[in-house]
């Protein structure tokens, strides 16, 4: 009896210790969050109070939105759309081979695998805004530097997601193809890709939606598209035009996301 009792007490003691550990961890997380808010000036009540009227002023200047220049936005919007599509195409074309080489089950050897992983994370770690500035400096203003910036940054992301999808394919059909005399390239085209195509398409469509939003921002550094109009309106302090452009972008984002969602559904 006593032995059984003791065993129960032991279990309860373990349970208490686990609860303490969790509570301690939660406490640490809360403290870290508070410190972060403090460092970034969130507890500076005075500054926040002073900022409020200015914010109100800006907001009032934004209404009513001024859509009178809408004809000037059509071409930039088409540019933005084209940039998002072209950037996606370029990203896919560059990502696929890199992803295959960065998938441990397909990669021919460890060195290639590691090099490709490093290339992917390097591309990922340069923000597209920085890439945009670099490419604008290299090839001048316009949509082309925007596309290059979007694509190169995306290769890092898309390539990583592709590689992860490819890594998790069922190896058995690969062996079946090999057993029927298929070469390495044929194994990829007929046993690997058919398995992951829906996932790759999914990743790609998400990326296209993201590219549309991102390309609006890229205009700010001179990389073409509707962002260019946005920064122009900001420069001349026409907040009513700024809000009109933002609303237009919002409408387009909703449409693009809806098209993306529809495309994804077709693939299911």
């Amino acid at each position: 009896m006593a032995l059984v009792e003791n065993r129960h007490l032991d279990i309860l003691a373990d349970d208490r210790r686990a609860a303490f550990r969790h509570a301690g961890l939660a406490g640490v997380i809360v403290v870290v969050c508070l410190i972060a808010l403090w460092i970034t000036g969130f507890f500076d009540a005075q500054r926040l109070m002073e900022g409020l009227p200015a914010l109100g002023q800006l907001a009032s200047e934004m209404v009513p939105p001024d859509f009178t220049r809408w004809q000037h936005w059509i071409k930039p919007l088409i540019d933005t759309l084209a940039m998002s599509i072209a950037g996606t195409v370029l990203a896919v074309v560059l990502s696929l081979p890199l992803a295959l080489l960065a998938a441990p089950n397909i990669s021919p050897n460890a060195a290639v695998y590691h090099i490709c992983r490093v290339v992917l994370s390097a591309l990922r770690s340069v923000p597209e805004l920085i890439m945009g500035i670099i490419f604008v400096a290299a090839v001048g203003f316009g949509a082309l530097p925007g596309v290059l910036a979007l694509a190169l940054h995306s290769v890092g992301m898309v390539g990583k997601f592709y590689a992860e999808a490819i890594e998790h394919v069922d190896p058995k059909p690969l062996e079946a193809a090999r057993a029927a005399g298929a070469g390495p390239f044929q194994v990829i085209t007929h046993a690997v890709l058919p398995q992951v195509l829906p996932q790759l398409a999914d990743i790609t469509i998400y990326r296209w939606e993201y590219h549309f939003r991102a390309s609006a921002v890229l205009g700010i550094v001179g990389a073409g598209g509707i962002g260019f109009e946005l920064i122009a309106a900001l420069r001349v302090i026409r907040y009513d035009q700024v809000s009109a452009i933002l609303l237009t972008i919002l409408a387009c984002v909703i449409v693009v996301d809806a098209i993306g969602a529809w495309l994804r559904k077709q693939l299911k």
Binding site: P173, E175, A176, A180, G181, A182, G183, F185, Q186, P194
Partner: protein, 263 residues
């Protein structure tokens, strides 16, 4: 004709799966491979089409020679249909698309980028018809029952126009009726087309019903090689290291334990 000459296989982790083994397989002969779990059946079958490389010895194929080097292995695999326990289909592709994978060995790498020719698709449909699944040709493979999927696996082997069929426990995950149908099909193909068929099984009853010849392995050695009629209780005890009732203690596939599958 396939000659296995003093073949032994030691895996990278040091496991000796096959002791030096010599055995010959002939066209039109339906050979059943028996052996307890871990005896080396899968290893031998894989070595027969180069999926496992020999540590010593060699496999010789009529018209090709020793099975070594990429070219020899590829041209041998092209004419060697392999049927797997888990049928290894791509679930989201149609039956037809899965069967066409059997034609890849006939294509160069660049040719692969083009669609399959109509003639090849017709060949595939012939194979699908032969396994009795023509009505399912455009269904997704994962919508088929296990027995039907296994027949797709056989069609994929058939479309290779093989002169050798290797089947590794093709009926281990099937109910007895489906299993009988699949084995009957393999047997008929072997006889009609004059193909050498080598099939590993865990069910003695099926082995005796279909085999022209039984080759049994134990711990990587051939411990029996002869017609099923010569397979008595004594031989069975030698193969499985125990009496014929309850031959297997360790069973990877619960479905192989169905009562009545052991003679």
């Amino acid at each position: 004709m396939i000659q296995v000459d003093k073949l032994d296989v030691v895996y990278a982790n040091g496991t000796r799966a096959l002791a030096p083994t010599s055995v010959t397989f002939r066209a039109g002969q339906f050979t059943v491979l028996l052996g307890a779990s871990g005896a080396g059946k899968s290893t031998l079958l894989r070595a027969l089409n180069g999926l496992v490389a020999p540590t010593h010895g060699e496999v010789r194929i009529d018209g090709i020679g020793a099975l070594s080097g990429r070219k020899a292995i590829r041209s041998h695999r092209r004419r060697t249909g392999m049927v797997f326990q888990q049928h290894q289909l791509i679930g989201r592709l149609t039956v037809l698309a899965n069967v066409l994978i059997g034609r890849l060995g006939y294509h160069g790498s660049l040719r692969t980028l083009l669609p399959f020719s109509v003639a090849e698709k017709q060949l595939a449909l012939d194979a699908i018809e032969r396994v009795g699944l023509l009505d399912y040709a455009l269904r997704r493979a994962d919508q088929l029952s296990g027995g039907q999927q296994q027949r797709v696996g056989i069609a994929r082997a058939l479309v290779q126009e093989p002169n050798l069929i290797l089947a590794d426990e093709p009926v281990a995950s099937l109910d007895p009726a489906s299993a009988d149908r699949v084995l009957g099909l393999l047997h008929k193909i072997c006889k009609d087309d004059g193909i050498a068929a080598i099939v590993s099984l865990h069910q003695l009853e099926f082995a005796k019903r279909y085999a022209d010849r039984i080759v049994a392995l134990a711990a990587g050695h051939v411990v029996f090689d002869g017609p099923p009629a010569r397979l008595g209780n004594q031989e069975i005890a030698r193969i499985y290291g125990t009496t014929p009732i309850g031959v297997r203690q360790d069973t990877p596939q619960p479905s192989t334990l169905k009562t009545g599958t052991y003679a």
